[in-house]
C-alpha cells in the first residue's frame, strides 16, 4: 500500500513527512519539493513520473541518503535518516540501499565480478563467501558467463544488469532506480524491467523507480506523479489536469 496523504502507518517501510527541498540558483530560491508525504510498504514497486525539473531525482537522492532535505523527515525501517550524521548515513546506505543509475556507473577498469563485489568489500564476509554472493547475483541477472568481462565488453542492457546485480548483492532494504531504462533500446529495456519485476515478485524487493517512460511506469504496482513539489497518484493527476477532483 502506498499513500501520499501523510496518513499512512508509521510501521510502513518508508515514511516521508513534510519533506521540503529548496535550492539557491543565481540568487533565486527554487522550491523543488514542498511538504511532500509518502508511505511505502515493504515489497512495493513504485514509479515516480513527472516533467523534467519536477524533482523526481531529487526525491530519489533524498530517499537514498545522498542529499539532505531543507525540512521534513524520512524514516526507513525505523531509522530516521534525516537526523543522521554524514558518516552514519554512508554506513546506512551501504546496508540499506541498492542504487541503479541511468548511466550504469560501473567502474570501467573492474570486471563485472569486481564491480558487483564492491558493496561486499565493505562487509566482513570472507573471500569465499563474497564469491558465492557475487556469483549468485550475476546468475540472477543472467550474466554468470560474463563475470570476467569488463564493462566495455558488454552491451548497454548487460551493463545495466550488472548494475542491478551490484545493487542487490548485499541484499539491501530497498532499490532506488533512476531511469534504469533511459539509455536502453526497447528490447533491452524490456529485459531490464522483467528483471526488476522478478526481483519484486519472487524476491519481495521494494523498488522505487524514476522514469519518463509511461510504458515502463505501467509495470510498477503504483505510479506517482510529482506535481508542484508534491506527490499525487496517477489517476488523481489525470483528474487534476482535467480540472476535477478524485
Amino acid at each position: 500500500m502506498v499513500r501520499v496523504d501523510g496518513a499512512g502507518r508509521n510501521s510502513s517501510l518508508i515514511n516521508v513527512r513534510g519533506l521540503d527541498k529548496k535550492y539557491q540558483r543565481g540568487g533565486e530560491e527554487i522550491h523543488v519539493l514542498q511538504g511532500l508525504n509518502l508511505d511505502v510498504e515493504a515489497g512495493e514497486f513504485v514509479a515516480f513520473m513527472g516533467p523534467s525539473g519536477s524533482g523526481k531525482t531529487t526525491l530519489l537522492n533524498l530517499l537514498g541518503g545522498l542529499d539532505v532535505p531543507s525540512a521534513g523527515s524520512i524514516t526507513v525501517a525505523g531509522d530516521e535518516i534525516t537526523s543522521m550524521s554524514r558518516g552514519r548515513l554512508t554506513e546506512w546506505r551501504a546496508r540499506h540501499v541498492g542504487f541503479v543509475f541511468q548511466m550504469y556507473n560501473l567502474i570501467p577498469v573492474l570486471t563485472a565480478f569486481q564491480n558487483v563485489e564492491l558493496p561486499l568489500l565493505l562487509t566482513k564476509l570472507s573471500k569465499g563467501d563474497r564469491r558465492k554472493h557475487v556469483e549468485t547475483a550475476l546468475a540472477l541477472v543472467g550474466l554468470q558467463d560474463r563475470m570476467h568481462h569488463y564493462p566495455r565488453q558488454l552491451s548497454g542492457g548487460q551493463e545495466q544488469r550488472v548494475t542491478i546485480a551490484r545493487a542487490i548483492v548485499s541484499d539491501p532494504t530497498f532499490l532506488l532506480c533512476d531511469e534504469p531504462t533511459g539509455d536502453l533500446d526497447r528490447k533491452s529495456a524490456d529485459e531490464v524491467m522483467a528483471l526488476i519485476l522478478r526481483l519484486v515478485k519472487e524476491y519481495k524487493k521494494t523498488v522505487l523507480m524514476v522514469t519518463h517512460d509511461p510504458v515502463v511506469a505501467q509495470r510498477a504496482n503504483t505510479t506517482l506523479h510529482l506535481e508542484k513539489g508534491a506527490l499525487v497518484e496517477a489517476g488523481a493527476a489525470e483528474v487534476a489536469m482535467s480540472g476535477g477532483s478524485r
Binding site: 558518516g87 551501504a94 542504487f99 556507473n105 577498469v109 569486481q114 564492491l118 558493496p119 568489500l121
Partner: protein, 382 residues
Amino acid sequence: MKYRGLLFANLFRKKTRLVLTLGSFAVALFLFSLLALIKHAFSANVDVAGVDRLVVINRTAIIQPLPISYRDRILRIPGVKRVTYDNWFGGVYQDPKNAFSQFAIDAENQRQVFHELVVPDDQWQAFLKDRQGAIVGATTAKRFGWKIGQRIPIQGTIFPGTWEFNIDGIYTGQRSGDDQTQFWFHWDYLYERAKNVLQGNVGWYTVLIDNPDDAVRIVKTIDDEFANSPYETHTDTEKAFATGFAKQLGNIGFLVIAIGTIVFFTLLLVTGNTMAISVRERIGELAVLKALGYSDRFVMLLVLAEAMLVAAVGGGLGLLTAAGFAMLLAATPMHNFIPFSTLSASAALTGLGLTLLFGAASGFLPALGGLRLRVIDALRRV
C-alpha cells in the same frame, strides 16, 4: 588487502600514462641521487680531513717548495707531535689518460701521521727495505690489476723519464670516505734522481699535533717562525685546507646542484600535475564508491595510496639506477679527481621521503577537492 584489486585496477587504467609517470619519478630521483653523489664527492676530502693535522705550504702557492730544513724547526714547536713531508710526482701509467695521485713520501713518519690509511706490517717493512718500493691504494691497485711484488713503470711528467717501482704493499682507508687512490714511494728515491730539480726542498709538510685545541696557536707559531724568510709559509688545519681546495671545485658543484635542483622540482611538479589530472578524470567513479557506502576517508586513502605507490615504485627505480650509476662512476678514471662514492643511506632515504611527500601532495589535493563535491553533484557530471 581486499581492496588490492581496486587499487591496482586504477593504477593500470592507462598503462602508457603509468609508465610515463613512473619514469618521471624515476628520473627525478635519479637526478636527486646524482646531486647527492656530486655534493658528497666535492665534500668528501673535507669530511675525512683530520682535526689533529695541519698542512704547511709555501705562502706563495702550493706548487712552490719549502726547504727540508724546516722539518726539524717545525718539530721543535711545542705541541707538535710528528712532521712528515711530501712531493707531488705527477706521472702516468702506460697512457696519459691513466693519471692518478702519486706522492713521494717521508717513509719514516707517513704511517704515524696518516694513521687512518692502513698498511699491513709485513708489507710496510718490505717497503722500508726497498728503495724503489711503492705502496698503492686499494682502488688504484684494483683499477690497474696490480699485485704485490709486481714491478711497474711510471712515466714522469714533472720529473721526466721512466720510473720503475715495486709494489710492496696496498693500503686501505678505515673510513668510507678515505681516499684509496694514492700511490706512495720513497722521497729519497725521488731526491736521488731529481736532486738538481728539488735542491733540498719538499712540496709541503703535514704536521700531527697533540691537541686539536692548540691548532690556532701552532698555526700562528709556524707561520711566525718562517716570516720574512725566502720561503714564508702558510699553515692551516687540514680541514680548512681541504675546504679551500674543495671551494675551487665548489663553484662548479654549486652550479650543477642548483640547476639540478630546479630540474628535480620541476619534474616532480609536472608529475604531480599528471597524477592530479588522472584523479580528476574519475571524480564520478569516486562518487559512485561513496554512493555504494564507501566513506570519505576510504576514498581519500585510496587516492593517496595510488599516488604514493606510483611515487615509491618510480622513486625506487630511480634510486636503484643511481646506485648502479655510482658504481660505474667509481670504476672510471674520473673517480681519481671527483671521488664518487656509493649512494649514502641518508641521501636515499631523503630522496625517497621527498618523492613520497610529492606523491602524497599530488594525490591529496585533487582527492580533497573531489571529496568536497557532493555525491549527487559528482554523479551529475558522469
